[in-house]
């Protein structure tokens, strides 16, 4: 059990520490690419929503890219992830193309759910991505189940899922995590403490400031990480995952971050004090990582801009694909209920 004080020291909520990382230039570049891709995808979702191109909710994860990308990047192909609504970054890291995302948002036949569900509510069996349901917390026991399967099959893999500070109030959180703990399952739960659950500030969700102390109650390791520092998220996840692979059981990670927009595009977040937004704006995970990459001479300014423009192009192509894709045929509504 990592002591809270020590864990807190690690949580800087500032720009990434310019310390030596074992990651290669290629890996460091990947992390940047996925965060930029994540934000570009979100921005595209917002603009399509504002143009009335789809009518369901539009959920984005501005400010939380480092948490999704850094944690997913620490996994191996055979590991299972169970992403929540704000983990599209993780889904991108797993290789789901942005065009499929947008097609799903637009309810098109080419989306992973073929129009049956919207937004990022989809799974991808070949990439070991479990689809979420809206009911928060449901994936915690389910991913613990995936971890149980790994253990039973003696596969050296890990299941990882995320939950918000709001979703952490759900009973499934306790049942799932305790199950994983007691059974010493290869399971990692990342609690994204992003300040708000819809309009409810975290202080009205729980009296403990650091959710990570719950780990003590389950007898498992718990670590706090600066959720806006992609390298720190990568490292802490990697540690937990490696431990799990070696039979070390479950870990709870608390990523301190912030939701830089409303709950969804229809919510202007009037309830968030300006000062708090300003505080977090200075800690934008992408901008700070850029500074790091430049300072450490990993990438040049030109290389950064090149990545941004190739992402923009990729997104244009994705949007075109999604918009030009056909809607499903009405009668397909009746298909696919049962597995054959």
């Amino acid at each position: 059990m990592v002591e809270i004080a020590e864990a807190k020291k690690r949580s800087t909520n500032r720009k990434p520490k310019a310390k030596k990382t074992k990651l290669s230039r290629k890996q460091l570049t990947d992390l940047y690419y996925y965060m930029v891709l994540n934000r570009a995808l979100d921005d595209r979702v917002t603009s399509l929503y504002k143009q009335g191109k789809f009518q369901g909710g539009a959920f984005v994860s501005r400010g939380q890219e480092a948490t999704s990308v850094g944690s997913a990047y620490a996994l191996e192909e055979g590991d299972v992830i169970g992403p929540m609504i704000r983990n599209s970054g993780a889904i991108l890291v797993r290789g789901v193309p942005p065009r499929e995302f947008l097609a799903n948002y637009l309810g098109k036949k080419t989306g992973p759910t073929q129009g049956k569900d919207g937004n990022s509510h989809f799974g991808d069996l070949k990439r070991n991505i479990f689809a979420p349901v809206s009911m928060l917390g449901v994936l915690i026991p389910v991913c613990a189940g995936a971890a149980l399967a790994f253990k039973m099959k003696k596969q050296p893999n890990v299941a990882l899922t995320w939950i918000g500070d709001g979703g952490a109030s759900i009973g499934d959180f306790h049942e799932g995590l305790n199950f994983a703990a007691v059974m010493k399952l290869p399971f990692v739960l990342i609690l994204e403490n992003n300040g708000y659950a819809y309009s409810t500030p975290t202080s009205k969700q729980s009296l403990v400031e650091d959710f990570v102390i719950r780990a003590q109650g389950y007898g498992i390791p718990g670590e706090i990480v600066d959720g806006n520092d992609v390298l720190a998220v990568y490292e802490v996840t990697k540690r937990a995952v490696e431990r799990a692979r070696k039979g070390g059981g479950a870990t709870l990670i608390e990523a301190k971050t912030f939701r830089m927009k409303g709950h969804a595009e229809h919510d202007d977040a009037f309830y968030v004090p300006k000062k708090i937004i300003e505080y977090w704006q200075k800690r934008d995970p992408i901008i700070n990582y850029e500074k790091y990459l430049l300072k450490e001479k990993v990438l040049s300014k030109k290389e950064l801009t090149d990545i941004q423009s190739s992402v923009a192009k990729e997104m244009d192509e994705a949007q075109k694909f999604a918009e030009e894709s056909p809607l499903p045929e009405a009668k397909e509504a009746a298909e696919g209920l049962y597995a054959s």
Partner: protein
Amino acid sequence: MSTITYIEAITKGLREEMQRDESVFCLGEDIGEYGGAFKVTKGFIKEFGEERVVDTILAETAIVGVSIGAAIMGLRPVAEMQFADFISNGWNQLVNMGAKTHYRWGAAVPMVIRLPSGGGLHAGPFHSQNPEAWFFHVPGLKLVAPSTPYDAKGLIKSAVRDNNPVLYFEHKYLYRHVKGEVPDDDYTIPIGKAEIKRVGKDITLITYGSMVQFSLEAAENVTKLGVEVEVLDLRSLLPFDKEMILESVKKTNRAMIVHEATLTGGIGGEISACITQDAFEYLDAPVKRVASIDTPVPYSPPLEAYFMPNTEKITKALRELAEY
């Protein structure tokens, strides 16, 4: 009298009940400063304070269980499910504790759960369900589902004043799509009483909630064929107005049930069984049902449209029934 939307009528009824009775209080996720996901309780926290407009943690089991406990102690909680779909989390509390309390040990549980339900808004499989049938099979609960602003206000008041757990199904599509005249003064609509929304002599169409409007349109459509449909709005689903149903069917000799919830295991099956059992000799045709198809509620517009009943599908069914 003022002309207001369905959602305004719910707010109005709820506000009046809170003003009338100090023991009434609201609880739920984001219902305070934010005013609830749909803004039903907007401004309530200013008017009634944090003690009576309780912004809760994100935990439906707790919301339902806490409501039950407070109700047993004599308060009158009105809990909001942000979306009806999330009541699945409160299942155990509601079904095993709330519904059985009075029967087992005599304690009253005067509580209301408001359930924004239904589809038609492309909100996908977890924000569009009509879960009334899940609870229809649970003795001890009461279920209401208003279809007009007038009924919405009258029924929320009755629900609040009832001494049992009442599930109040408010349809999200109706929120802002339906307007109507609503008296400014106090009135209630008795739980358990249906209403004939249109008089007819050829077919009894039994429906509720979102399907009332579509059914009325369909009834209008078939007048061209000389068919006069009687549209009966249940308003209360548990208990439901069996007497009025049978009386109407005995007059028209044909019956059809329309609901937005999926067909199999839906409330229509029970109503149909009642009619067949108690009015069989009056029937000129088998009882017909129109409902959503037996799948989750799909997201994409063409799929959702195919999934749900609408005026056209109801009209077609009425025609078939008339011609039987």
